[in-house]
């Protein structure tokens, strides 16, 4: 199997679905001839035609609205929002329309659309190219939220999202598009090639929405993470020597509660890691869920490691990013606590 980085895996997922299903099409700002600013749609217009992969006006609200209308017709549109930071102009169409359509029409109309968007920091993008808005979607009844952490999962989950009959917010951790990132920005960059999950089948396959993955089994502590932070968590486990179980949630809504509860009931300790700002971030929901489901098993306070409650500052990207040092410190507090 060819070794693919995450961009190639996502491109392959789109290629497979465009080939398989004439009702699938993809569009967004610069996704057509150019292939997207991160090249995820590169070559798709040339291969599948102008009407199946094309550029749109710079109006995120319009892009999503048009996708909703196409979904109501019976298509399965996949839209790209160039950066997650630019999703807010489409927020009303997502919250009031895509998320509500099935419910308010009692199943008469649905919104089987997928919204792909790169999120997270680590590329010196400053405060408007680094945000992690997942919690703004997990709070919205009717939206599914998915975050892959490897090329294999990225392709399998994106195909699942496109085939899913509900609207899916598909958040792509842009920092690991080209290689796994352990959070040590000062160490040499790694490429996906050496990572087992870069073995990506060329054809159609799925990774189920709603299922987490235990990426490292451990006995003493549970670390809940997703996207880029999965790799930071793994590095933190190695460097701390703590025998932690690392769970890659992969899907945030609906979240895989069984896997989480089973692990924390086993370890009795839990550290939650995400890049988004801390207050009212998705870690708050995870903390509440763990507390509600594992209260009598907890031996220490649940720790949240997250982005600071500030915008993502250009010059202080690495002081903002919740890297191994902060994750390890939290793991140690959780072991003592």
């Amino acid at each position: 199997m060819p070794a693919m980085n995450m961009i190639q895996a996502l491109n392959s997922a789109l290629d497979v679905m465009l080939s398989k299903d004439p009702n699938v099409l993809t569009f967004g700002e610069d996704v057509g001839y150019f292939g997207g600013v991160f090249r995820v749609t590169e070559g798709l217009q040339k291969k599948h035609g102008l009407t199946r992969c094309f550029d749109t006006p710079i109006g995120e609200g319009g892009i999503v609205a048009v996708a909703i209308g196409m979904g109501a017709y019976g298509l399965r549109p996949v839209v790209e929002i160039q950066f997650a930071d630019y999703i807010y102009p489409a927020y009303d169409q997502l919250v009031s329309e895509a998320a509500r359509m099935r419910y308010r029409s009692a199943g008469d109309f649905t919104a089987p659309m997928t919204l792909r968007t790169p999120y997270g920091g680590g590329i010196y993008g400053g405060q408007t190219h680094s945000q992690s808005p997942e919690a703004l979607f997990t709070h919205v009844a009717g939206l599914k939220t998915v975050v892959p952490s490897t090329p294999y999962d990225a392709k399998g989950l994106l195909i699942s999202a496109i085939e899913d009959d509900d609207p899916v917010i598909f958040l792509e951790p842009k920092r690991i598009y080209n290689g796994p990132f352990d959070g040590y920005h000062d160490r040499p960059v790694q490429s996906w090639a050496k990572h087992p999950a870069s073995d990506v089948p060329a054809g159609h396959y799925t990774v189920p929405i709603g299922k987490a993955a235990i990426v490292r089994a451990g006995a003493d502590l549970t670390v809940l993470a997703y996207g880029t932070m999965v790799h930071v968590a793994l590095a933190s486990v190695t460097d701390s020597g703590i025998d932690a179980e690392v769970i890659d949630l992969r899907t945030l809504m609906p979240v895989d509660i069984e896997t989480i509860v089973a692990s924390v009931q086993k370890t009795g300790r839990c550290v939650i890691v995400h890049e988004a700002t801390r207050t009212s971030g998705y870690g708050a929901e995870l903390s509440a869920l763990v507390q509600e489901n594992c209260f009598h098993h907890l031996e220490a306070p649940i720790e949240r490691v997250a982005g600071w409650d500030t915008p993502y500052p250009h010059a202080f990207e690495w002081q903002y990013f919740p890297g191994p040092a902060r994750v390890i410190a939290a793991m140690q507090r959780a072991m003592e606590g």
Binding site: T56, I68, G69, I257
Partner: protein
Amino acid sequence: MKNRAKLSLHVPAPATRPGDAPDFSGVTLAGAGEVSRPEIDAHPHDIRALAYSLIRVLDDKGHALGSWNPRLDPEILRKGLRAMLLTRAFDDRMYRAQRQGKTSFYMKCTGEEAVAVAAAQALEPDDMCFPSYRQQGLLIARGYPLVQMMYQIYSNAMDPLKGRQLPVMYSSKAFGFFTISGNLGTQFPQAVGWAMASAYKGDDRIAASWVGEGTTAEGDVHHALNFASVYKAPVILNVVNNQWAISSFSGIAGAQEATFASRGIGYGLPALRVDGNDFLAVYAVTQWAAERARANLGATLIEHYTYRAEGHSTSDDPSRYRPSEDAKAWPLGDPIERLKVHLIAIREWSEDKQQQAHAEAVEQVKDANKTAEAVGTLGHGEPPSLKTMFEDVFKDMPWHLRRQRQEMGV
């Protein structure tokens, strides 16, 4: 040369307020038949004047004049008249039902019946409509069962929307009527997306959508016009200018600076301005736009100039912000009355028939309402099944909703 005098802020205000006599002297109207009909493949830039004029077919005596006269079979006109009568009878009954505490809310379209009913007649039954809450005339003209609408309004056990939606927020894919949103304007660009999908699939169905003049201020409306123009989507974008947005007169939406039809000019879209109370004119412009769309020539923007004859909804009291005599003074009259006069003028109808048709409409509504009330009204009789409350959030119910349903004990 450089003038640095003090600036001052302009805030538009209407000519009249409660207590004043109605004053429509500012309204200038083209005469019936004055505006001529271009070919459907006319270049938008050559017909910009249509955005500033007013397309009218029926004159004050009920004669149909000019090249926009669709020359319809009288049977179609009678059908339209009956549908408008039925819509008005339905509105009156449901308004009363709300006053009687049988539901929480209702919205009439009194005085605007032609906008929806004539369009329903000019479109094909399988064309897709993305309406606002004031186009119930579309459903009624397409023959959707009144009792189904009432089930929805009463949120009872037979409500096709399972008691989830505010009254009047109907949805019927089978009748080409998109699920109405409580959020203004969102359906406008969705209709463009549906139309793009139809074109993408090589289908022959077109889409149509409606927003009020107040709603034109939403970004969604700009997105709709922009995407419709760029991708030449087969869609008809209607702005129903009934001159009021709850308590705000149309000047707050920009009516004192330009017509709403002219909003289409900057996107290179054909823009038509029509007498919304003239059934024949509304039919004719809709037909023109539909033919153009089906010929792959893209979208059309239509402004329907009309007047909201009653309150915004059952929650509103227009006497607080406009002269109470306004509706009667509105120079373009009443769409039902005007079509009736025309049918009589062409000897295809009579006052007796009108009386009879009205009585039949009232009867039909009464019967439907009896059936609907027998099932239940809001808070009385048989409600929808409670456990459906947790369904349809997603296609398959996730664990957390199953748990919540259990917690509720259903």
